[in-house]
């Protein structure tokens, strides 16, 4: 673990008794002594504090916001020009064949765009933006940690430090002063719960994390529970549920592509893979990401092959994320199926340890989203 990068909260994780694992080149906490199951439930019932400092924080700036937005729209098929000030939006970089290079969050912070990208893709994303974009500067922010405070108690906890937190709605961004630190905060996250993501200067990150953890309702949460929370929330994990071989329509992410970027819109196309993506938006794709509920208690994980009939020879799809859903109290999974077999209520069969076991195609998310809208 000695060659791994460390986040500004590394010492705190060790002090809290975290089990550290390598993830995207960083030493990250996979769980704390509470354990994955309890950490998951705690986040759903109260509030969890996550260190997501491994993720890439990037500022894209031009003469003004519109310059930066117009530039980024050449790489991302979402409406960035129309994003209101202090608002955030989900998006992704696409490639020439309509696949997804990475997914990301974009925020209009007045005179620039604040972008958060996946840890495993950030070096490529930043190099790609620098090479592809003119008239803008692309700056990786390396002197800030990123924390996520997620769960129904998050608002109460954060607004005690800065009352402005309570006035934010889902996908709002604001600059808050938390424990004396200037923080770039969004009301969003990756758990399906209400909550915030907090970009905090590295030197003040540990003090802020300790202050948040001092609240009786806040517990530290590791990557293990982060994964089961986002899976129940029906949220994609890059490199698993989406990658360069999956298109936005296949991934059931049509909602992220606003009308203005679709055929007939004022700024239709103009992003990599637009021909493929616009055609699929209009006509549908051959396959689709779906929710899957295995019957019984046995979890079905990533890679499990899916069959239309219990004794078919050829698989029709596979699971891309799966495990036990603590809130659901049963195994849950996501995967890809041909569109004809992707209808809710369809039974398919997953091969587990040589046996074919039934799963039912179901709607996502598995647990209702608790956003503050």
């Amino acid at each position: 673990m000695s060659d791994l990068l460390r986040t500004p909260l590394h010492q705190l994780h060790e002090d809290l008794g975290a089990k550290m694992v390598p993830f995207a080149g960083y030493a990250m906490p996979v769980q704390y002594p509470m354990g994955v199951l309890q950490e998951h439930m705690h986040t759903r019932k109260k509030a969890g504090l996550f260190d997501v400092s491994h993720m890439g924080q990037v500022i894209v700036a031009g003469r003004d916001f519109a310059t930066a937005a117009a530039a980024l729209e050449t790489l991302v098929p979402v409406d960035i020009l129309g994003l209101g000030q202090d608002r955030q939006r989900y998006g992704f970089f696409t490639n020439q064949t309509g696949g997804i290079l990475d997914d990301l969050m974009l925020a209009n912070r007045g005179d620039h765009i604040f972008v958060v990208v996946n840890a495993g893709c950030k070096a490529d994303d930043i190099a790609y933006m620098k090479a592809a974009l003119s008239d803008v500067t692309v700056t990786e922010i390396t002197d800030r940690a990123l924390l996520a405070l997620q769960g129904p108690a998050a608002e109460t906890v954060l607004s005690a430090l800065d009352p402005k937190a309570a006035r934010m709605q889902f996908m709002d961004v604001a600059t808050l002063t938390l424990a004396g630190a200037e923080c770039w905060v969004s009301r969003s996250g990756y758990t399906g719960e209400d909550g915030y993501e907090i970009s905090v200067p590295a030197a003040q990150a540990e003090a802020l994390a300790k202050l948040l953890l001092a609240h009786a309702d806040v517990a530290p949460i590791g990557l293990g529970a982060r994964d089961s929370l986002r899976l129940e929330g029906g949220l994609c994990l890059y490199g698993h549920d989406i990658d360069t071989n999956t298109t936005p329509t296949q991934a059931a992410l049509n909602w992220a592509i606003q009308k203005v970027r679709r055929s007939g819109g004022d700024r239709a196309g103009g992003f990599p893979g637009a021909d493929v993506i616009l055609t699929e938006l209009a006509e549908g794709a051959v396959c689709k990401r779906v929710g899957l509920l295995p019957e019984g208690r046995a979890p079905m994980r990533e890679g499990v092959q899916l069959f239309a009939e219990v004794d078919d020879e050829a698989p029709i799809g596979k699971i891309t994320s799966g495990g036990f859903g603590p809130t659901v109290g049963a195994p849950v999974a996501m995967g890809y199926l041909p569109t004809a077999q992707a209808k809710i209520g369809t039974t398919v069969y997953g091969e587990l340890r040589g046996k074919r076991l039934p799963l039912t195609v179901t709607s996502l998310p598995f647990t209702p989203a608790n956003f503050k809208r």
Binding site: Q31, G35, V36, L37, Q38, G224, S228, R297, A298, P299, R301, G323, F324, P326, P331, R353
Partner: protein
């Protein structure tokens, strides 16, 4: 009581042996969410995969530590896999086996040796 290097425990009760996994093992595995037990009446051989357990992290196979016939399985564990975390060497037992060669137990560790093994 005997222990294997695979972190199973074996507790003789009259002419049968109760088998489970140790607290050290369940702590390492994390929260256990699924246990697939063998059918009663199955004849198993030493080192044969006999139980599948799934934690929140991954699936693991448990091998039979001895030859014999499965005479009882812990139905409560199938319904509530967390028993293996809560009471690994008690209510979290996996199965009872009637050994065909009880001397196979002799090579396994006693508690002191096992504690030294995991230290």
């Amino acid at each position: 009581m005997k222990f294997t290097e695979e972190h199973e425990w074996l507790r003789p009760e009259d002419d049968i042996v109760v088998v489970g996994i140790t607290e050290h093992a369940t702590t390492q595995l994390g929260d256990i969410v699924f246990v697939e037990l063998p059918e009663v009446g199955t004849t198993v051989t030493k080192d044969e995969e006999v139980v599948v357990i799934e934690s929140v992290k991954a699936a693991s196979d448990i091998m039979s530590p001895i030859d014999g016939e499965i005479v009882e399985v812990n139905a409560a564990l199938a319904d509530n896999p967390a028993l293996a975390n809560e009471d690994a060497i008690g209510a979290g037992w996996f199965f009872k086996i009637k050994p065909s060669d009880p001397t196979q137990m002799d090579g396994y560790m006693d508690e002191a040796a096992y504690n030294a093994f995991i230290a």
